[in-house]
């Protein structure tokens, strides 16, 4: 095995004096401090807006721009009639390396659509944001373009998104009344979806 010998640079006499180096460092720091103090004060009174005050972005008041292909929280796209575009082919569930997607398919009343998700859950506590589900979707039914980054919750259960939250990114649980359209009769208040075909209650959570 080749051995690489690293030689540490010897400090010069000036550097060994210590105090001048400290002063030099404080000069850099305080230059930034006073520059930012001055610029922030000037921004407050509406001056010097063209000069950026500091490299720190003022998150969350001032979120940074996301790249167009950035993968943020998922959403399910909808058809023109407002029903989910997803046909429940389960390819995303199949490809998902984290196994965080849960789909139960049902019979769509329109035989030209045939199939739709009665249940579509994503467990964001498990999701690795790889974007494979978006890649694999043959119907452009799932996208990761909501720009939502602040996914946080107090429990693991609350990290699980159901079909309502996925179809309308603005919704968060508990969803009390649902204006979304499904081929089935949605009874979200009780947390349950009704499968129109069998009439059985499928529990959402």
């Amino acid at each position: 095995m080749a051995v690489k010998v690293l030689h540490r640079r010897e400090l010069t006499f000036w550097e060994k004096l210590y105090v001048p180096q400290i002063v030099g460092g404080l000069k850099v720091t305080s230059a930034h401090l006073f520059r930012n103090l001055f610029l922030h004060a000037a921004h407050r009174v509406g001056r010097l807006k063209h000069l950026r005050a500091s490299v720190t972005s003022q998150y969350p008041e001032e979120p940074r721009l996301l790249a167009t292909r950035f993968r943020s929280r998922h959403r399910l796209t909808v058809r023109e009639d407002g029903t989910p575009r997803c046909v429940g082919c389960m390819l995303c569930e199949t490809v998902c390396p984290a196994k965080c997607i849960t789909i139960v398919a049902g019979e769509h009343p329109d035989p030209n659509v045939e199939k739709y998700p009665v249940r579509f859950d994503i467990d964001l506590g498990v999701c690795v944001y790889c974007g494979y589900c978006v890649e694999v979707c043959p119907e452009d039914a799932i996208r990761m373009d909501t720009g939502i980054l602040d996914v946080a919750a107090y429990s693991r259960d609350a990290m699980k998104l159901d079909i309502h939250e996925l179809m309308d990114p603005a919704l968060r649980k508990p969803v009390s009344n649902c204006s979304l359209k499904f081929p089935h009769q949605c009874r979200v208040a009780s947390g349950q979806l009704k499968d129109h075909r069998s009439g059985t209650q499928k529990v959402l959570h």
């Binding site: 082919c89 389960m90 390819l91 849960t102 035989p111 030209n112 045939e114």
Partner: protein, 547 residues
Amino acid sequence: MPALTIDGTAIECPDGSTVIQAAERAGIFIPRYCYHPGLSIAGNCRICLVEIEKYPKLQIACNTPVTEGMTVHTKSAKAEDGRRAVLEFLLANHPLDCPVCDQSGECDLQNFYMNFGLYDPRFREQKVKKKKAVSIGPHVMLDQERCILCSRCVRFTDEITKTGEFGIFNRADKAELGLYPGERLDNPYSGNVVDICPVGALTDQDFRFKARVWYLSSAPTVCNGCAQGCNVDIHYVLNRPHLNDGARVLRVKPRYNADVNQWWMCDEGRYGFGWIDKGRLTKVRHRGVESTWEQAMAAIAAELTKLRWNGSRIGVIASSQLTNEELFLIREIFQGALGAQVTAAFPTRPGFSDDFLIKADKSPNTLGTTLLALDGATHDAATLVDEALQGRIEALWVFGHDLTKLGDGPPINNVGLINEESLRELSRKLGLFVFSGTNENSTASWSHWVLPTAAYVEKDGTFVNCHGRVQRIGRAFPPVPDCREDWTILLEIARQLNHPLAWQNPQQIFQGLTEVLPPLAGLTYEKIGSLGAPLAHTPPAAEAAAP
């Protein structure tokens, strides 16, 4: 025996065989849609094109008889070009339904397209619209757009079931598969058309949208629906409990066995698996209160020992749903060690039968009970229950049977029909009333002890079908938690009765069985294999006695 060369492999095959059969013998797979070994040859899909030297054009392998010295190329560029062109026509009007199609993943159109499809389609015209998602019978869903008109299903209903429901109507690109007016696809073998359909035109209503086929695991077993013992594959999924309310078995498919069921099976067996996941007994119960296996085994063994010393009579109603191994243990322990009256005869009204696969006897192992002499020559389940009701039997162990189904039909002996009232009477009179079985029923609710046991797909063992073929059922997946296989329960009871048996697993029990039962002599699990083995009909002892 013409000798020919296929892809450089020399092969001899019987006179009159076709190129596709010869290729099969040589281990070469030629794509096919309309060809099915169990049906007549139609030669209409044209996908099996092969190049034969000295023929000017490509030939279809399924309908070209082999001749001496023929040289066939199945993988040449010319043959694959031909197939690509055929696929282009087949796909011209085929809808892009793969995401919603249940066949997706086991579809020959998909598979062959991946092999030699034209990846850049040239068809720019509007696809012809036909009817979709039409329920054409109790089990089968038809999608006319997906059909490639191979006519396998038409030939199946014409030749195998001879019911002739299907026909192909109209011509050219308006041609469509359909039922004759007034017909419904409700023959007892209708599910087979789903298996033979190479595309997603005919799909299963029972399996519809339950899962994608690539989620399924498969295990070979034997149908327990009747005495025929059709070879089947159980398709199950264990790691996706959200599908189909947590059911593990999602469908059953026939498995080819030339001596039993060929490629087919009946709908009764195909769709009769629901009980494996629904209404299962999951807890040991003592008079309605949850108990443990340890308590149950100790208490039952103690009670049986006590009854034996008192000289009381013990009755055991075994079941022809049990494996040979378990029946053998029952005979050894109850008839041998305890001197109990054991019977597996459970008179019920005979079920539907025909001259093809469906047998009136709905038990998979009736012949096994006969071999073990448990088929009730002197007493059957009805007489045992009768004696118990009259107080002449102190203990009764019922394996799997629901006594209310006893004599389902005309009353047998003095018993008449057993109802809840007589079960209550049994429960009151008997000193020990044990029910071991898989599913909840009236007998379970009135017995003193309820022992939850494994379903046949959850345990290993053998059945003997009505033609005297020993078949292994294998074990697809482990039992429901807290359920045990009947043979483990029996071995444990034997141990607690101070009558320990040396065997540890069904294979060893079967070896023990072959030693005492001449018709099974010489058989092993290896010899039975996946296709079963016939019984040695003449026991060696009888042979020796004969001049």
